[in-house]
């Protein structure tokens, strides 16, 4: 369960203060995967980082029950001077999982070949995404926070991701940000639309997509 209680967060840059969420209260229950919809710059990625706990709220609180992943995105949480393998080792250590097992799993999954032992800085964005996806799938979480990542990679890799992801989703949930409503429809049961600092929860993902489309048409 993830519960927002009067949560408030502002984005600040150079004197501009923009609300991401204002006084928002919302409960996301276990067993349901959530699609997070909103226009460009609405703060969807920031919201994922808030859920992960990587950044803090300005007011209110978020109550989390269960193990929550870090936000999986393109930009990645990789240190570019470290090799893929070193990055995997690092994650295994900080999450306290078996290092060798995780390395074997990710090496097999990400199909990076010799590049697995090269600095992440030399990777293409597709390679980074493969590493990021494989890495997070190798660690067991109750919630996976996914930021657009399923959109990268070739068809074969997408299929592979989908297969693994689907087995994972049998006992884990996902909070997903995507601009592709098709992806949201595939993975999510319910939806949250983020618009002008307000989060609106929809029990049915179709309703959320409809509300989002309506928002997009209005402006």
């Amino acid at each position: 369960m993830i519960r927002f209680e009067q949560a408030t967060k502002y984005a600040r840059t150079k004197g501009i203060k923009k609300p991401i969420i204002e006084d928002a209260s919302l409960t996301l229950n276990r067993g349901k995967s959530v699609g997070l919809l909103g226009r460009n710059g609405a703060g969807k990625s920031t919201l994922l980082r808030l859920i992960a706990g990587a950044i803090k709220l300005d007011g209110g609180r978020i109550i989390r029950r269960g193990k929550i992943s870090w936000p999986l995105g393109f930009a990645g949480s990789f240190q570019s001077s470290m090799t893929g393998e070193q990055n995997v080792r690092f994650v295994a250590r900080i999450y306290g999982v078996n290092t060798e097992q995780l390395i074997a799993y990710v090496e097999d999954f990400a199909e990076l070949g010799p590049f697995f032992k090269a600095p992440v800085g030399t990777y293409s964005s597709g390679m980074k995404a493969r590493l990021a996806f494989g890495l997070s799938m190798g660690v067991n979480f109750d919630y996976y926070l996914v930021d657009e990542i399923t959109a990268v990679g070739d068809t074969n890799f997408k299929k592979k991701c989908q297969a693994v992801f689907e087995t994972r989703l049998q006992d884990s949930d996902v909070v997903m940000v995507s601009h592709s409503t098709g992806t949201i429809r595939d993975y999510c049961d319910c939806g949250v639309v983020l618009e002008k600092g307000k989060m609106t929860y929809y029990e049915n993902v179709e309703d959320a997509i409809r509300a989002h489309d309506k928002n997009m048409k209005e402006s």
């Binding site: 950044i55 949480s77 240190q79 250590r93 900080i94």
Partner: protein, 256 residues
Amino acid sequence: MEYVATHLRVVAALLVREMSTRFGSKPGGYVWALLDPAAHILLMTSIFQAIAHTPALGTSFALFFATGYIAFQFYQAMNGYLNAAVKANKALLSYPNVAPIDTIVARFVLQMGTTSLVAFIVLGTIVATMRVDTDLHWPSILEAIALACLFGLGVALINCVLFLKYPLYEQVFGIVNRPLFLISGVFFLPDSIPAPYRELVLINPLVHIIMGFRKGFYPEYRAIGLDMDYLYGIAFLTLFAGMLVFTLSRKTLRNE
């Protein structure tokens, strides 16, 4: 307990990460972290030995210079390495269980170990090859090292935050910090400076650190002007200010 265990795990992981990437791309790896400063000091020592034959203290110029330089390095290397601790690990801070302070703790432990080993290698070599027996007074040595490290840590905690907030300050700090090497008493003894200037030189806490450190190697050294109360006061005040600024600036450090 869970909380402490997570932090310990993260610090351990960061330690390995720092060790493997700092010199990871070169053959020899971490050994360079020791060899580099050790070679640097030995080289500088032999150059200065050629220029000035009689040291201000004792008979060995090498020992005089190396004690000053190493005491200085306990502050300088620590500070320089820690100033960039948060910035250098920025990407890793996107993992929610990696906290900015973990990067500081990992680098502190690593740098403390590294400089200590360098000190052992360099001073050990010099003392072993000297003809005169040296009486080491360990409490003075360890006290000076601890204060140098804590002072370096305090300054770095403040810098980590201010460098991110005010890029201009980073330039200013660089300009002020660079000549410290010349005025901290690595080459000279503050005791020998005439009155009005001596008071000025003694404002610099590093001068006291170096004097304290040297006292541990030269039992006959009287260290006139050494004020341990002043040194403790400055070091702990800086450390406290650093901890305060660092704690209050969590958002800046997480790069929101």
